[in-house]
Amino acid sequence: MRKFQNISDRLIPIIFMLFILFAWQFVVSMGWVERFILPAPTDIVNALILNWSDILMHTGVTFFEGITGLLVAVVFSFAMAIIMDQFVLVKKAIYPSLVISQTVPIIIIAPLLAMWFGFGIAPKIFVVVLVCFFPITINLIEGLQSVDQELIDLVRSMGARKIQIFSKIKFPYALPYFFSGLKIAATYSIMGAVIGEWLGGKAGLGVYMLRARHAFALDLVFASILVIVILSIGVFYGIAMIQKAIMPWEKLKEE
């Protein structure tokens, strides 16, 4: 019964998506919408297959920018979260500015970055870092600060030094929080890279989409969107798998 429930839980969203795709295909095939306004799903897949080698090259560039930015963001987030956790004054000083910085629209910042750093790969990675830094840092800080005070007292009563409290208690405790932040950041990372590329450059899915749009090749624009979606989901699941490998105790809960 339980197994049946699981299968139907998975089938329902798939059936729904298939239904949307069929409706879309039907509307375009019947000629109710012009193909150059909205290409049909089959057109998109065709475009993807025909331009596969081009798209693959651009995808590689975007993927590299996204992952590099994500890794840089992780490093900075750890440094920031640890400093904010250890020094209350720093947290009080920085936390509000951190929140305010997130309200600045990234689409406005990106062209400025192109002005400052040129059209190379650096400003793209910078955009990714900007988008990914916040969710990781906030979650990590929350994890570090929500350790049970009695647990800290217990290890303190054992004579633990500050560094031991951090490495043996606080850090492993904050890991699940870190991963939920990282998963959010992962979905942003590819999008951040595309926004960075959108403003100009030599390669990447953002650049490719821009060219396709200028050529009114909407099927290629949609094909790029499809690739971006798959890539983002891929990064997300990749991180979820790393999490499962690092924290085997989490999945024991249900047993």
Partner: protein
């Protein structure tokens, strides 16, 4: 009043601790002898845990001193072991690795620490659960692991702060017997906090009764030796009178 002052491993002298300029505990004098089980019995929230935090060195008292083996250790951590009502096990470590935490903090190598813990598992009845993680264990089992971790730190002076307070009544009775069995094997000295009169009488050699605002020791009671280690042995007139006497004092 004091029965075996001479071989006491822990002495608390005239300890007063305030919070927000009000005394919570005042003029506390207690001692614990080698191998003895002493309870501190009093109503919830009267400052018993504050006293434990002072003894563990986590809080510095305004007045008074704490001696371990006649050495002044007031405000020093890392000397006595401490067990809380919450099991406070690390969910990312299995039973053995939870047990090695105090040894690791002391700087022992992990493999060596694991060997020591594995050696002790049968004593605590945990040999069949060594690979399990805390969320696979029942409440009683978790407290066994927590007790073993407390022991791994030190058996000289074990502070147990209502360790069975979060368990259901039946598991609790089982754990009380279990604790006495363990103590027979490991010869530890225990200072035990509780608000349960029967628990205090069943487990202890001596009981301090603490109450009031600020909390102070109102009476020290010696519990007569019990014939056997079962709760049924408590149904004699002698223990009934003792229970009535304690109840009156509270």
């Amino acid at each position: 009043m004091n029965f075996y002052q001479n071989n006491s491993v822990l002495k608390v002298e005239q300890v007063t601790k305030e919070y927000n300029h009000k005394n919570i505990i005042e003029g506390i004098d207690i001692h614990l002898n080698q191998g003895e089980f002493v309870s501190i019995l009093g109503p919830s929230g009267c400052g018993k845990s504050t006293l434990f935090n002072v003894i563990a060195g986590l809080l510095l008292p305004e007045q008074g001193k704490v001696f371990v083996n006649d050495v002044d250790v007031t405000g020093k951590t890392g000397i006595v072991s401490y067990m809380y009502q919450k099991d406070l096990l690390l969910p990312w470590r299995n039973v053995v690795d939870n047990g090695i935490l105090p040894l690791e903090i002391r700087g022992m190598k992990k493999d060596e620490a694991r060997e020591k813990v594995i050696e002790m598992l049968p004593v605590f009845g945990l040999q069949d659960h060594m690979e399990k993680y805390p969320n696979q264990l029942s409440g009683g089992m978790k407290q066994r692991v927590s007790l073993m971790r407390t022991y791994m730190f030190s058996k000289e002076i074990m502070l147990l702060d209502e360790p069975f307070g979060g368990l259901d009544a039946i598991t609790r009775l089982k754990m009380q017997k279990y604790l006495l069995e363990i103590l027979k094997k490991i010869h530890g000295s225990v200072l035990f906090i509780t608000h349960d009169i029967d628990e205090a009488i069943f487990l202890s050699d001596r009981i301090y009764i603490i109450k009031g605002f600020p909390a102070h020791i109102v009476e020290e009671i010696k519990v007569p030796a019990k014939g056997s280690d079962t709760q049924e042995a408590m149904n004699t007139n002698e223990f009934r009178d003792l229970r009535a006497k304690v109840l009156k004092l509270l």
